[in-house]
């Protein structure tokens, strides 16, 4: 009986090896959407897209079940190195920097970087050179973004970086930018979603999608290469891309090159080897990135100061209204304060920039300033309100007996004393605002944290950029805390 059970379990193991194998964890970003990876509209718990089908094909060839791992697009390289997944594919672009920091497969798809403009500008803007002095949008951390940075120097355009590929096109329609440069897969998808746009077919540049793995996973990468080559030969890839409407004449030519190179020199398209030390590379890259980090720090500082100024002015008005106003004013202001404090500032920024775009089309920096200012005004008003209420009643009575009007009492006695009480919490808020200002990168404002992220993505390491970024934030916040402490000492109110 026991012998029979053993025999059965042995049989099961040999017949269905996949059951005993660990799953192939594959990383991608479902926010990237169709045709790459997206949650199935019919069943959001499963993923669909050509990258999904390629991943499943590779898993099947390896005899392992496929398991999807959600990773933000900009973090795919970092996650590969951390070992969050075995292979990553999500429209990941081939680049020398990427090949140096992770194990990269042969390219499996060729795309063209193309320019999309509003229909009315079809003949005016045909190339990046035509867009001198104009704002051109793209997805951050991509080859297209590098092309735009190059064009900033060569053609005098302004590059605008987004965290997703939807808003570059919606902002193009709104007139916030004058063109979008992205790969043709994303451009075609945007054309289906929006009317009033036109894409020039000519390629500004050509690039490739690849599959990545942790740098030491060269054996796995070589097996993936073999599977991809076989899929090119037997038409599996063609079938998948045709199904998703992405097949074109560029692909057979790419496959011929990949398969030809494999026959002669396996290393020609897929340079192998361990990447050089990333920290060392980061120090080398530092002089190139330092100027942009410093100017991003200036953006952070200017934005924070301007937003704080707005918050202080509005906060004073709100606090005054809540202390002195009639019941209706007080109720309205209380609702404002509770709504602004009770909802995420990120949501407020989105609503102001994108939500209100149909009514008022604010430039990104102004929207960021207004968003942060309106949010922090709620916090400031609470500080001022409690500070106003903390001024002893005797001080106000002394002013009244002297014959000062209520307004004079507020201006000459109550507010100056309340300000001294409010100073310490205000400083805390300003330091918090300095850091919260990093949220405005979602509105395409490149401030310190965003610039650090660009730096880190490009060199493939967070260590050096992160340290540098932290130092810059500290350099801005520490003197401020110091100044506030000194003023506080000077103004310390005697306790009777």
């Amino acid at each position: 009986m026991i012998r029979l059970a053993l025999l059965t379990s042995l049989l099961v193991c040999t017949v269905t090896p996949a059951l005993g194998q660990p799953p192939l964890r594959w990383g991608g970003d479902s926010e990237g959407g169709a045709p790459f990876v997206e949650a199935d509209p019919a069943d959001p718990s499963t993923m669909v897209g050509f990258d999904v089908e390629i991943a499943e094909h590779i898993a099947a060839q390896l005899g392992r079940p496929a398991r999807f791992v959600q990773i933000a697009y900009a973090s795919l390289d970092q996650s590969a190195r951390r070992g969050d997944f075995d292979i990553g594919l999500s429209g990941i672009e081939d680049s020398a920097g990427r090949r140096a920091s992770v194990a990269a497969s042969v390219p499996y798809y060729e795309f063209r970087e193309v320019i999309t403009v509003r229909e009315g500008d079809r003949d005016r803007f045909r190339s990046l050179a035509d867009l001198r002095g104009r704002r051109v949008a793209t997805l951050g951390g991509t080859m297209a973004y590098d092309l735009l940075l190059q064009a900033e120097r060569d053609d005098g355009i302004t590059a605008v970086s987004y965290d997703d590929d939807v808003h570059p096109y919606s902002d193009l329609l709104l007139g916030r930018v004058d063109a979008v440069l992205l790969d043709h897969v994303l451009a075609e998808r945007a054309m289906r979603r929006n009317t009033g746009l036109v894409t020039h077919p000519e390629a500004v540049a050509v690039g490739h999608y690849i599959i990545i793995a942790a740098p030491e996973q060269t054996a796995l990468r070589d097996r993936v290469d073999d599977i991809l080559r076989a899929a090119m030969r037997d038409g599996t890839l063609e079938r998948i891309f045709r199904k998703w409407g992405c097949w074109n004449e560029d692909q057979p030519a790419l496959y011929a090159r990949v398969l030809g190179a494999a026959a002669t020199d396996p290393s020609a398209t897929a340079p192998a080897g361990v990447p050089p030390g990333t920290v060392g590379r980061a120090w080398e890259a530092l002089p190139r990135y330092l100027p942009s980090l410093l100017s991003a720090a200036v953006v952070t500082l200017v934005l924070s100061c301007a937003a704080m100024l707005l918050a202080v002015v509005l906060g004073v008005l709100i606090a005054t209204g809540r202390v002195y106003g009639d019941p209706v004013t007080r109720a309205v202001l209380t609702v404002y304060v509770e709504v602004m404090r009770g909802t995420p500032v990120l949501l407020q920024l989105f609503v102001i920039y994108y939500g209100l775009a149909g009514v008022v089309r604010l430039p990104a920096f102004i929207a960021a300033l207004v968003g942060l200012g309106l949010n922090y005004a709620a916090y400031e008003s609470e500080i001022y309100r409690s500070a106003l209420e903390a001024v002893p009643r005797g001080q106000l009575e002394a002013a009244r007996v002297l014959g000062l009007t209520p307004l004079q009492t507020l201006r000459l006695v109550r507010a100056p004393q309340a300000f001294r009480l409010a100073l310490a919490p205000m400083t805390n808020d300003f330091v918090a605002l300095l850091k919260d200002s990093s949220l405005v990168s979602v509105l395409t404002v490149v401030e310190l944290t965003k610039q650090t992220q660009i730096f880190a993505t490009n060199i493939g390491s967070w260590l050096v950029p992160g340290l540098l970024c932290a130092l810059l934030y500290l350099a801005m916040s520490l003197p401020l805390s110091h100044l506030a402490r000194r003023l506080e000492d000077r103004w310390k109110v005697a306790t009777p």
């Binding site: 009575e397 002394a398 002013a399 009244r400 007996v401 002297l402 000459l412 100056p416 004393q417 005697a494």
Partner: protein, 233 residues
């Protein structure tokens, strides 16, 4: 405007409790009138009503413009002694800064705190703060000066200085109304004492008469409490 104070039938309730049960009070220029009574007798409340900080429920009041010196001074914590004194002349009377500072300098000098003009309230002693507070009240030249427990924070030497200063102010034609626990001070410097108990006026008259030969039960009780307080100190 006359400097004479005239109060008739002053009444005040807080909830069910009657704080003032019909007070009649007169005071003329040159007088230093002291209100005495146990805690809760209503003396501070009378000053606050005369200063316009509280409203009475009933009564007829003829009061000239009053300056007030609070028991805890309530100097503006963020302003120097000089700025405290100049605030009302500049913003209520619209004097120029130079005018206000000249007058404030005189007042601070007369009260013996001219050398403390640039000090902040927290840097002043109790006696100095009180004299700055008196200067602040006098800067707008009120015919009536109200002082709540002016001797509370003073040692005996300072107390006599204050008494002399108050007498001088009365002699210059002002009306002074003060509250006090200190029967020695009242005896030495007030021209009239008014004894209050339970929101009523019990007796009034020359302090030497009233305090030496206390006619009323309430007055004797008040003096006894005060003597015990002094012995315990």
């Amino acid at each position: 405007m006359s400097a004479t104070l005239r109060v008739r039938g002053l009444r005040l309730w807080r909830g069910d409790r009657q704080i003032l049960a019909g007070i009649d009070l007169d005071a003329s220029p040159g007088e230093v009138v002291a209100l005495m009574g146990l805690s809760g007798s209503g003396k501070t409340t009378i000053l606050r009503i005369l200063a316009g900080l509280e409203r009475a429920d009933a009564g007829d009041i003829q009061v000239p413009k009053a300056g007030m010196v609070f028991q805890y001074h309530y100097l503006f914590e963020h302003l120097t002694a000089m700025e405290n004194v100049c605030l009302a002349p500049m913003y209520v009377q619209r004097q120029t800064r130079a005018q206000a500072e000249a007058r404030a300098g005189e007042l601070l000098g007369e009260l013996g705190v001219g050398h403390r003009a640039d000090a902040l309230p927290r840097e002043l002693s109790g006696g100095e703060a009180q004299r700055v507070a008196i200067a602040r009240a006098l800067a707008v030249d009120p015919p009536l000066l109200l002082l709540d427990e002016p001797t509370a924070s003073l040692d005996p030497a300072r107390r006599n200085d204050l008494g002399d200063a108050l007498k001088a102010l009365a002699a210059s034609g002002r009306t002074l109304l003060l509250t006090s626990h200190d029967d020695d001070f009242v005896r030495d410097f007030a021209s009239r004492v008014v004894i209050l108990a339970g929101g009523r006026m019990v007796e009034q008259g020359d302090p030497r008469q009233v305090l030496e030969y206390a006619q009323h039960e309430e007055t004797r009780e008040l003096l006894q409490v005060e003597r015990q307080r002094k012995l315990g100190r």
